[in-house]
Symmetry: C2
Subunit: 378 residues, 2 copies
């Protein structure tokens, strides 16, 4: 624990007032933990869609140029004028990034809770994790069993807690079954396993036959391919069978969220005894939690007047749910880390690789089944 380097390599993202994005690596002094803090050697940190939003912002990546500064990689790209409006709050601030990761505690502050983690493998959350080292409060770490593979510990928070939050939200709001889109994702596979274990009917929507096969192979009962011609009929049939009136949509753009509401309504109307011009009185909720399609959401509103489409974000959910629910969900993640919450990565890259233009283009495509893991120490 004594041979720490003097500097720490960190990734930063900066929006410049003239409409330019800079993403770069920088050497900063090695931080020294305060009494309540620990210094974690970051061994693995995933590139989640939620990281990409901060990393690349509203930049037009077709304009990206690669160069170096002080011998470290630098990527520059133009930000179109409408995009700059959304970036107003971050202009001129070089922001560190990386939501979550897994590492080894190599130095600890003097407090008992920090000392208790020394030498341990931990999962960590809290940003600034695309770096060789991260210094943060001990309470932002989750202790993992000794010998946990950093690959297994890297994604302990975002996907596991988000997928658990879906089933918690479903129950809290009085629904009894779920719909999920982009369902072949790592998160989607976790949700399939959670729902199977908890007896929650789940309708999975995917975009290809390969994804149908993947989800069926892990036991999903309802998997629907939105590329099929009779997609709406298949979806209505599955919603009729499951009674799902709550959906979580990772895609955001396009017609899918509205199609789910329309099929929920068609399933509800089938259960009605008589016609109402206002549609069914069954409450239908779809949450948009991602933006795999950045284009506009298009709602054809063929679903009566008893519906809601809302944004969904993990942190406010956890705050609202309270400490007891948080502890219960975290414990479940640790208990089922290599089963329910097992993540799969298609590529492992270094911090420097992560700023190569061809690799950026690959992970920024956000293809289902392709997931990148940064290994800052190889």
């Amino acid at each position: 624990m004594t041979d720490l380097p003097d500097t720490n390599l960190v990734m930063l993202t900066l929006v410049k007032p003239e409409g330019e994005l800079e993403v770069f690596l920088e050497r900063r002094p090695m931080p020294n933990p305060a009494p309540h803090e620990v210094l974690v050697k970051v061994l693995a940190t995933p590139i989640n869609p939620s990281d990409l939003g901060l990393l690349l912002g509203a930049a037009d990546m077709s304009t990206a140029r690669a160069s170096t500064r002080d011998g470290l990689p630098l990527v520059t790209a133009d930000i179109p004028a409408p995009g700059m409006r959304a970036m107003a709050g971050r202009i001129g601030d070089a922001l560190p990034i990386g939501n979550e990761g897994c590492g080894l505690v190599v130095k600890a502050g003097s407090s008992p809770e920090a000392q208790a983690l020394l030498g341990k493998t931990v999962a960590l959350i809290g940003g600034e994790i695309y770096a060789e080292y991260r210094c943060l409060p001990a309470q932002m770490c989750m202790l993992l069993p000794d010998g946990t593979d950093p690959r297994d510990g890297a994604s302990c928070f975002v996907n596991p807690l988000t997928s658990l939050a879906f089933t918690e939200t479903m129950r809290m709001e009085g629904h009894s079954a779920l719909v999920h889109t982009a369902a072949a994702s790592n998160l989607g596979q976790m949700l399939v396993k959670i729902c199977a274990k908890d007896g929650i009917p789940l309708v999975n929507i995917v975009r290809s036959e390969a994804q149908v096969a993947l989800l069926k192979s892990i036991g999903a009962a309802h998997v629907i391919n939105s590329s099929d011609e009779d997609f709406m009929d298949q979806l209505t049939a599955a919603l009729t069978e499951t009674g799902a009136t709550c959906g979580f949509d990772a895609i955001g753009g396009g017609k899918l969220a509205g199609q789910i509401l329309a099929c929920m309504e068609a399933a509800a109307v089938k259960r009605m005894a008589s016609y109402s011009r206002y549609g069914s009185d069954t409450f239908k909720q779809v949450y948009i939690y991602g933006a795999l399609d950045l284009g506009p959401t298009i709602l054809n509103r063929s679903f009566g007047l008893t519906w809601s489409l809302s944004g969904f974000l993990l942190t406010p959910f956890l705050q609202k749910a309270g400490r007891e629910v948080n502890m219960r969900l975290r414990q479940r993640v640790v208990d089922e880390l290599t089963t329910t919450f097992k993540s799969h990565y298609s590529h492992e890259i270094s911090l420097t690789d992560a700023l190569a233009l061809d690799i950026i283009a690959e992970y920024n495509a956000k293809r289902t089944g392709e997931k990148y893991l940064i290994r800052p120490h190889g």
Copy 2:
């Protein structure tokens, strides 16, 4: 009260399985009130957008043909195939229409509550009011002061209770100011007066300078013309000043609902101390309660993840609000019938006029400032 005719002229709307709409008048036997019922001579009944949905359904009115049957007018129009799907629940049922109206109680059942209304002017709700007479339970009538002009009593329920429901919903859900679209409508003018009286900041969105002038003339403080080039800037400024985070949208289609959410977010971001990639944590709610634009709702989702877009319907709101709130709102309508809740009609027509193709085309255009009142007895 003794010279009642033997028959009652009623309007009906029928979707035929072969994809055709029929709207027609029919003579039916004069109903006789049961003990708890009254027979009301309908003197005035408005054509609300909510009536048009049932009246014309999903028919393509450019195909409408006029004819007669048994000497009474009959309008026929084709229903496109996608429209027929939404009409599935009403195929083959000739449905009476007309949500609300005002009339004179000309015959009453034997119960004391029915007898108490005999000879009185009442407002009535409950459908089937596009007719010369309507027989209904006494409790579905609201007693109006003797001598009330039927024009003033015709729209006691839908617009007054809907506009009051907006302010009630705003308070129940923890907001402190409102946004309203198509705000120069009868309902919009009521809302301006309610908010002025109750001290609720209200941002009115209209589509023309004439409508701006109209609303300013009745005392509206914030009126924004969505046709202005700097509409979004004006709206953001008004939302910043009022702090409105709850909106009611009568239009439904197009970009407006999303623009309101985007400007609410821009106003909220101004109040934030530091940047968040997820946007503000200010909860933003827009309700769609009408469909003046039947086209798709288009959301550009430039408003973070703390938002909700929902359908809004009066009846479920009133059911959820409970009896005490209902009584309070109704009493306020009666108390302020010729002030706050004064309706304006641009045209008065007969039941037969209402089935003339040129007149249908006019009222079906749902132009702000044009409102039709049916006077079944001239």
